[in-house]
Symmetry: C5
């Protein structure tokens, strides 16, 4: 395998090739102590952007802050507080937040490691949850995922995103306009609302994949081509990628429902059950799509094999009709001195052509009977 990798390196001009999304794995240098803060993702935003939102049923306040220390008073605020941090490359910010809000060093490490699997960890003083926000990148034609981390305390929630744009705008607006019950709920309801938004995005992506599958299907019935095959493989891979993001989320939500967490009230549980149902539905659709794609692959392959059959039949029909005829013509092209047929006067126009005709008719009847024509 080594040789392959080597020859690979020789052929790829360094710097022109970046590692594909799918083949990236978490990589921290083995032997480092746990909790060492190293950002494993790609730096996706210039400055770390922090904004804070405080609200209760009556009050509402929201602002962008410059230094992370400005948010520290929120830990002991009376109101429900939400600190939203976009950008992970500045580990100093994370360290300060971790120290002040008493976040375990392993949690901080997980927030930075952007190849995390969706999971839920319960620490006595807080709840840590990580999931994947999925989007459809129109330019690359690929699904892109961003890691979103939640740290939930009693009355506050801290969210970490990898990059801008901040995808939680609509929720902030709902809080501002006091739509629905969001102002009545606490930090746990806020976390639910954000997770619900992330899951709703899965449906948009699925819809686009569904469009492509339906289109492909129509294509394959009419006229299968090699490009279709590549598209099938591409779709299969995107679904594999999507599934890898969604499957663990089901367990996360199931744990939320099954176990009793201090910070999650019974009323919010009803809403989490709703998100759980949605995730099940996403998984269902992904599985259905996977089965359809595998069916399309079968369709493609058997239609290719049909083509092959047709090609073979044409060849066989032409060859089996004309090869014997050519032999006959070859016979009468021989130069024997004693070759009586050559001298029969009406043999050429009648004898020869009727032989040819009879042979042709017999062959045609034979192919007809075999259902080749």
């Amino acid at each position: 395998m080594n040789n392959i990798v080597d020859s690979l390196k020789q052929r790829i001009i360094p710097g022109t090739k970046k590692k594909s999304r799918i083949y990236r794995v978490r990589k921290k240098q083995a032997g480092l102590p746990p909790g060492t803060l190293i950002h494993t993702g790609i730096k996706k935003v210039e400055n770390v952007l922090i904004d804070i939102t405080e609200y209760s049923e009556e009050k509402f306040d929201e602002k962008k802050i410059e230094t992370v220390e400005d948010s520290f008073r929120l830990r002991d605020s009376e109101l429900t507080s939400w600190i939203n941090i976009c950008g992970l490359h500045d580990t100093a910010v994370l360290e300060k937040v971790g120290a002040h809000f008493n976040i375990h060093s392993l949690v901080l490490e997980d927030i930075l490691n952007t190849e995390q699997r969706p999971k839920l960890d319960d620490y006595d003083s807080l709840l840590y949850c990580v999931l994947k926000s999925i989007e459809y990148d129109e330019t690359a034609g690929e699904i892109t995922s961003e890691q979103v981390s939640f740290v939930l305390g009693k009355k506050w929630l801290i969210t970490f995103q990898e990059r801008l744009p901040d995808c939680f705008g609509p929720i902030r607006e709902r809080i501002l306009k006091s739509k629905g019950r969001i102002r009545k709920g606490g930090a746990d309801y806020l976390m639910y609302a954000l997770m619900d938004m992330v899951v709703d995005n899965y449906f948009s992506v699925l819809e686009k994949i569904g469009d492509s599958i339906q289109y492909l299907e129509d294509e394959l019935v009419g006229d299968p081509r090699t490009e279709n095959l590549n598209t099938i493989y591409k779709l299969r891979r995107e679904l594999l990628f999507l599934r890898k993001s969604v499957l663990p989320l089901r367990e996360v939500l199931n744990t939320m429902l099954r176990d009793d967490f201090e910070f999650i009230t019974a009323e919010t549980d009803i809403f989490i059950r709703d998100v759980y149902d949605h995730v099940i539905q996403v998984m269902d659709t992904v599985e259905t799509y996977r089965e359809m794609i595998s069916g399309m692959l079968d369709t493609y392959l058997s239609s290719v094999s049909n083509r092959m059959n047709e090609v073979m039949k044409v060849l066989t029909i032409i060859a089996t009709i004309f090869i014997p005829l050519t032999f006959v013509a070859g016979v009468y092209g021989m130069n024997f001195d004693n070759f009586p047929e050559l001298h029969w006067k009406w043999f050429y126009p009648w004898g020869f052509w009727s032989t040819i005709f009879v042979l042709g008719v017999v062959m045609f009847w034979f192919f007809k009977r075999k259902k080749w024509i």
Copy 2:
């Protein structure tokens, strides 16, 4: 993938293409508050039709009502009450019913979202159950499904259907004629009776699919054609669709049996066990059909490959017999000055033809031994 979708859009004249049943996914705009009432299905009925049925062992009353408010007194009726609502596009009706009967906003949202997965949710004051009523659409040659929702209170049941015709006619008649134990049972027994009817419909659909499979099988033994392949794929997809509707129903009924619900009496449990058995049987049949269809696919593919073999054999037999003979004829067609055989008197009639004959016999014997003829 993007390019595909784009090129798709260019090729499909807008408005002429509607989204296929299988590729539809639930789609609410991400970020909307939960419980926002938006009807995601297609408007399938002009006006919302509401009829109410009240009964006890002695009494029976049934009528169509104009405004949903007329049904509100049923909440506190002494009799067993059934409110049946056909048509979901008028969200105002739903909102009023929800407010009066104290239905959670998430339930209302689920009722409207017609891409729901069958499920059972327990709210303290009521029980919410959603399932898929399956029918076989004779004109489109496809299975169509309609979402049916049940909201069960202590003495009342509200059912929501997407469209007319109201498929619960036979049950209403049974109540009227007091056939079986339906008048003795409460609202829970009524819910059972309606669910049983829905499940019984699955058997009709399965029977039609069974007919198609049996027919296909006879076809494939005789004379496999490309159309058969398309039918196989079509059947496979219909079964996939059916399975997706039935599989979660099993869990729903299992939960009903396993957990203790306030509104479901022990006597009704026996009947629910019966429906559960039927659903298991439906699943069993679906799985058996899926295995048969996958077997038929194998049959088809190997018979196609057999055909190919036969074509190849014919070509090979003809070519291997005549190509050498043509060579021989070609040799004696050469124009060398010194070509002794050409001048031997009896070579043509005896030497040449016997060579041809011997070669033919040898080839024939060779193919016979190879079992190609």
Copy 3:
């Protein structure tokens, strides 16, 4: 799918085509009240035959009775009683039995519905168990199954069979001759003995299938033919059918062992464990056979592909040898005025034939090196 079914109906002369065993599904008109007694099977016996057996360790009595009412006194008999009913088409008999022995209407419905899945239902006053008796129909070359239902009370057992011949003869004889512990056991032991007999029959059927598989395997090694393929598919289907009958039986027996049933004593439990082991063994064998058959399919397909290869090689060898030679012969058949070779005296016997010979030898060496010869 509809068009298919329609065209199917046009092609099949009505009445000449009966529905195959595998595609039959339970079909009661949707909306009928539960417990409606409709016989869904085929009427397999002219008159309903009822015989009753009473025994204790000392006494034994057995007789055929004319009307079902004659058996009613057995409900309160001191002795262990067995009522055996062959033939299900007369629903009146069943109704009377049901009323007298206090059998739930759902049980009666299940007894009549002969497309039942093996199952065990516990009603307070009795135990209902249904299973499939399998036989190998020598004339049709197919497995046939008959539904056998058991209703177990405290001291009595009622068995329902679809048709004659009554397959429980050997057990009746064992009771008569007092062989083994059957006279000492109660009605539960009798039920065990009957179930054991049904399961023992599975082994006979499996043995016959095993014979066919072994035979097929020998065939395939020697000389694979298309008929073999059909037999493989046929065997696969029979095993699918068998598995469908046996798999739920395992759960039935497991429930019997795990749960505590009033009417089944601890001593009988030991024997039921024995039947359970046998069923596991049957399932094991079925799964092994299925794997072998799938392996045989692979063998068949790869030997077909080998054949194809051989055909192609022969064609290629012949064609690649003679096509160039024919070209050479064609060249010297040209009629150019200025064609020096034609006038060289010894070119034909030496030059031409040695060219041919050299070309042939080169080709032969080439094929030898490629390992085609």
Copy 4:
């Protein structure tokens, strides 16, 4: 299927064909009372051989005995006792042992039925365990299995083997020489030691299979042949057979560990856990081998398909080069009176051959570009 079996019987001369190990199923005549002692295996030893071993930490005694009654005193012996019985065909011996040691008749039936699945049954007074001793039969090139049954009482163990040679020699020697802790342990430890030996044998068999797989792999890379395919199928079947023997053993040992058995002490449990680990390891290896073999099948099939491709390419190259050339030669072999080219003096040596040459070069370039050469 019937016809197949019939035609099978006609073709196989009776007596020359014995049933293969894999297709044998347990067969007792249906309807016989449970506990009927019938030996279903093949008589593998002339006389039943019985030897008894008694030991404690200080004492040791071992002898062969003539009649089974000589062993009866061991039931109440102070020492740990082991009765080893080789040969099962004499049911009288078994009946006597069963009566004296109070063994349930179902156990006796299971001991005799040599197509048993490994299992563990707990009877109040004793523990019954059956497993498969596997050996590699060098002459037949097949895995052979022998059923070994253990009946464990408080201080005694009875083992039943189908045939000689008695495979428990090394254990007897260990007791004699007092190696390890065997003399300190009771009958349960003895049973463990014997089971451990049986499992150790699995590793030897696996090693031989591993050798064959490794060899096959090297073969396939070099030069795949049809014989390799047969070997692949053979190995696959042997592994299927092995798996069938080992899989239930895992459950047996798991039950031993999980449940509390009166006769098995906590110290022995540690050793049983060790055997359990070994069995898991055997299963693991079997599964790995199965995956490798399935991978080898893929390798074989794709290399066959590669061959086919190569054959096709050679044919195509030769045919597409020479068929047009032959046409050209054919043209100039025509006998038209007015055929100007024939009379051009230098056409043959220059015009004709350069046409041929150019056509050949074009073709060669075409094939080169297509990467066929």
Copy 5:
């Protein structure tokens, strides 16, 4: 199978062939008492190397020792102690350690048997854990695995490695430099740190495999070749090997988390949960890679089949165009005396060539319509 093995042995010159890593199975001579110390691995280091490390928050001491007895005092040390033993071939060392630290003989046997499956065994006085350290061998291009065993006492940990280099260097350095919380934790935290390092190595190996897969994928899209196929199979096997090492590790860690072990504190549990998450992530990636590789196999096979199709088309086009033309030329090469066309003056230049031209155009149009060109 025997014959295969025999012929294998004849062809392989003894001593030149060593057994592949994958086909090695644990092999102890059947019948040996449990706890017999036999080293089953390959002797990978000349001398057994032992070093000991003692530390508390304040103190630190580390040294290489000559005889194992020097480490015995650590059993009762106040400090946290770590004994690291490299090399397993000297069973005397192990026996002494086992006797002094009270290690069960089965544990000692497992430490020596280097084909162990990762597992965790709980003995009252200590905890035994074995896992596989994976490395990527650059020279052989293969994954190599080394067995690492941990024996954890209250305040001490003994680790056993098969060979040098000792892979635990970075941890020793962390203890020395007092980085992270390692000096604060006890022996359980040390064991966690070592296991974490082992698991971190898995990610490096995965990254290299990911590189190869990504490279292969790019290759396959461009130009699939047989070498790619071999690489695919190689990667598949390496992943199978990796999976076999990692899968049981998940259970090991799960048991650690689920069960309450005396020597593992609650704080360490949090860290073990972290390792557990990493192992899940490794498994996830392995499964994703396996799916991708199986997809690549499909890609390869269908592109091979496409090639075949193309070859066939070229052959068919050439043959179907020229075979009829050759026949026509053959006709006019016949030597009949009465052959009027030959004497028509303008037939050759106009009649003949236009026939040829028309035939060619028709054929071309035909292939165009069939989309072969």
